[in-house]
Symmetry: C3
Subunit: 203 residues, 3 copies
């Protein structure tokens, strides 16, 4: 069940990667690369930093296959639905929430202290998109745009402080996911932004 | 023998890194960085993702030395031969083919499933150049330009499906290398490109 | 004592990251990301490449906390002192020297050969700033600007060749740090640059 949701999250992120590639007029290989990187990049960075071996997609090739398929399907069909792109932002919010919860859980399982576990939740949720934007030679969306990573951090913190015993074992992750999703959807709906830090450019 | 070819591949890629640094008017340190990153970056990412320890150049400093030397030599002599740069693309095609075969082989030796082994071949072949272009603040050539990574993928797939027994142990890698080289040289000669995926830029 | 100096180095680098975020008009999350990445990025890349587990900040969350706090404090107070920014370059020179020495020492402890140990010193000193600049979509300062990484390399080499026995165990690192600091401060004072490698841009 979690496995299937995880694959759905990978697919959703891979679609956003493929669209970014299309906006930059990349070729078919670029589409596949941005799909794969966006889909599995966050979890990869988490596993490398935590020292988890093997990385989740190295032992199970389904992840890479799903990301490649999602990228190619997007390339073939995007013209049909790209004008309804708003729906994608909602799917992306779901991917973010799911990955943040899974990432925090992995870090806690690996014995990481609290602050590090939250950081790993955020990294799992956003790093794929950061690498996607860097490959597209853009300043990462997440550093500048709407409230996004903060939603992931909120979900991670909730999971961290929620009692782990009894019903909390299932309820904690579920509530964390809902909290992250709610914040992110609210940010999309009302265009909520974090305060900007402005310094003059160097002369 | 393979060791010497591997070092030649590192040197060739290091030269392309140094030239990219020159086109961006970097200083001597920038030249060395781009030479080293382009020369050993692909294999480094492969080893980190596969969890191979130690990374190939950490135990044997010859790799770093060869990349540094190739970068500095390029800086000192490039003006003499840069107008004949076409030859470099052929050398680069050889480096790509060699690294793709070595990368796939390493992944198979580490027990990675087929799709992952092909991915590791492609990563070993192209990731150094991708990091080079990102450091030079350019959109990676491989995501947009001529057929390049696809040649590496074709060689990797051939190596994967070729029978490993008997004479195949030598013939497989040799044929994979030749296939990759042939596709890449054809792409250079006739400027073959993958289809481009075009979406309008966000308004 | 070394631990405290290490944290000071992280804080100083985090401040430079937060300032870079401000110059790019990033939001509060972007400030935190650039602070953390600049503060701990160099040591992280070193530990990943050396295969050291766990990475220094995964087991001890103080590092991340210090970087986050330094970033947020910078965001809140930078307007008060940003016109005296020159002092920051001196603090940054201290961070560079300290990280170069610590990085080289870690690599020697891990049994890396000499060239690799120097490379690890340089990586620990400069990689955080390189990732910072890439996230800000700028060509990394260190590849183009004043003498910077070369100072780290000089300190690393001195540490490497200095006799390790007796008083050298303390004197070596101290002299290496002073050498790096002296070169970097001289470079700031007299705007010393490495020679630039210029090739024509591709037509």
């Amino acid at each position: 069940m979690i496995y299937v949701m995880d694959l759905v999250g990978v697919a959703v992120f891979a679609v956003t990667g493929a669209i970014a590639a299309g906006r930059k007029q990349m070729d078919g290989f670029g589409v596949v690369v941005l799909a794969v990187v966006t889909g599995i990049g966050g979890g990869t960075l988490r596993d490398v930093l935590l020292g988890v071996r093997p990385i989740f997609w190295v032992a199970d090739q389904t992840y890479v296959l799903v990301a490649v398929a999602a990228g190619l399907l997007t390339m073939l069909t995007a013209r049909l639905w790209i004008s309804f792109e708003k729906g994608l932002a909602v799917a992306d919010a779901f991917g973010l929430s799911l990955f943040a919860v899974i990432g925090t859980q992995h870090a806690m399982d690996a014995g990481a202290p609290g602050v590090v576990a939250v950081l790993m939740g955020v990294i799992t949720g956003v790093a794929g998109g950061v690498i996607r934007d860097m490959l597209a030679n853009e300043m990462p969306f997440v550093l500048r745009g709407e409230l996004y990573a903060t939603a992931a951090a909120a979900g991670s913190v909730l999971l961290l402080v929620f009692p782990k015993t009894g019903v909390g074992e299932v309820l904690g992750p579920a509530l964390a996911l809902v909290l992250c999703l709610a914040i992110r959807l609210a940010a999309i709906r009302w265009r909520i932004q974090l305060p900007i830090f402005r310094l003059m450019r160097r002369p």
